[in-house]
């Protein structure tokens, strides 16, 4: 396969970026998308130029490191697939491919296709956990969890924190990311103690980080490589309303 790539190049956060054209030659359809980029980079290096910087690590679709908007869709054209799992057999020989970084104010570009997603970590730090300390917990079977609830919690916690939902959202909102964690923990009896406080502080942290507001476009769901559903946002909204009636204590613990 031979392809024409238009890749976003940006030297640093403060620099201006632009699309640069590359020719990807002799690409095997068996290659993954990132292996295609590896091949292009080898060529760039041999030409004495700086290769395209992109985030990647596990290359098996679970670490959430890879982050590219390919032909206008975060993680590219194949449904429920991260960039690293996307294979070249999904592209047409002779076609062109646009490759851009996640774009959102909360995700400043570090270099080329690499963005800073630490804002997502800070949403979790605000309260995306159960405040249990190590040791002194009851036996694992002491609290029963229905099969359905455990399943729903698992569905929500499959989120890999890649940020595709933000990249896809016309509002740059991180609501799907936030909702997946809120739902995961609210579905479990262990997580319900802090549920009211959690939903408030996490959504507030989301706004503070500069993410936009959710207005139900559902683009996030369409882009999510792990099939996280917008129903979890509905669940977050229910949790938020319930929290108002519970008169949640809002202050962070000191």
């Amino acid at each position: 396969m031979n392809l024409t790539l238009f890749v976003w190049r940006q030297k640093g956060p403060a620099e201006k970026g632009r699309l640069e054209q590359f020719n990807a030659k002799d690409i095997s359809p068996e290659m993954s998308f990132l292996e295609m980029l590896d091949t292009v980079n080898e060529g760039i290096i041999k030409d004495g130029k700086e290769p395209i910087a992109f985030d990647h690590d596990c290359r098996e679709g679970i670490c959430g490191m890879c982050s590219q908007v390919i032909n206008g869709v975060p993680h590219g054209p194949q449904e429920k697939t991260t960039v690293c799992q996307l294979h070249m057999r999904n592209f047409k020989d002779g076609g062109s491919i646009y490759i851009e970084p996640w774009r959102a104010r909360a995700f400043p570009v570090i270099k080329d296709l690499i963005v800073d997603r630490s804002a997502l970590d800070r949403i979790i730090q605000a309260g995306g956990y159960i405040s249990v300390h190590t040791g002194g917990v009851p036996d694992a079977n002491a609290v029963l969890v229905s099969n359905d609830d455990a399943d729903a919690a698992m569905d929500a916690s499959e989120c890999i924190g890649c940020g595709a939902c933000v990249a896809a959202c016309p509002n740059g909102s991180a609501m799907l990311f936030t909702a997946s964690k809120v739902t995961h923990l609210a579905m479990l009896p262990q997580g319900q103690v802090e549920a009211a406080r959690r939903v408030c502080v996490m959504t507030e942290a989301m706004t503070q980080e500069g993410f936009g507001n959710c207005s139900n476009h559902y683009e996030c769901q369409a882009a999510c490589p792990k099939g996280i559903r917008v129903q979890f946002i509905a669940k977050l909204n229910r949790e938020f309303i319930r929290a108002q009636f519970k008169g949640a204590r809002r202050e962070s613990p000191q």
């Binding site: 238009f6 104010r105 740059g172 959504t203 938020f240």
Partner: protein
Amino acid sequence: MRFLENTVGRKIVIAVTGQLMAVFAIFHLLGNYFNPYSMKFPDIGSFIWLARLAMLLSFGLHTFFGIQAELENHKARTGPYALKKSISTTFAAKTMIWSGILSGVFIIFHLLNFTFSVIDESFQDNYAVALGYTIGLSAVCLHLYHGIASFFQTMGWNSEKSLSVITMAGKGMALLLFAGFICIVVLNRV
């Protein structure tokens, strides 16, 4: 009022006030076809004023938080993608701010026209006004095309299965309203 500082809290305000106005629009349409003044409502006068107050409040809150959200959303985005494909969103959802502003202008015009009679021209006589009504109604219904169903998501009143049904029903309701209102304009012109 932490509720109103929270993105979800404000979204709920937008949703509830929007839906109140949508419900009003439904009654409004029914009223156009079946005149409620001819029915025997007890104490209809004070009910109307209560409704007017609720609508005024809804209109104000909806507009304020709607525009605020839009400004924030605009800020949350950086530079456009060279290429961006939408997968699941609709034209209606993407243009909520514009259909909203247009609807607001239209509603004010409509009130000045009918309720307060400041503007005398009626669409029965004036083609330009009729065209204005058509555009205004299109904007309102485009807004509702996304808005009605969106309300249920925002309130969390859906489930795994009902989400798609509610979305379809919301869109259907918006189209019905459009058909109902536009008929009045068209029938009165012809």
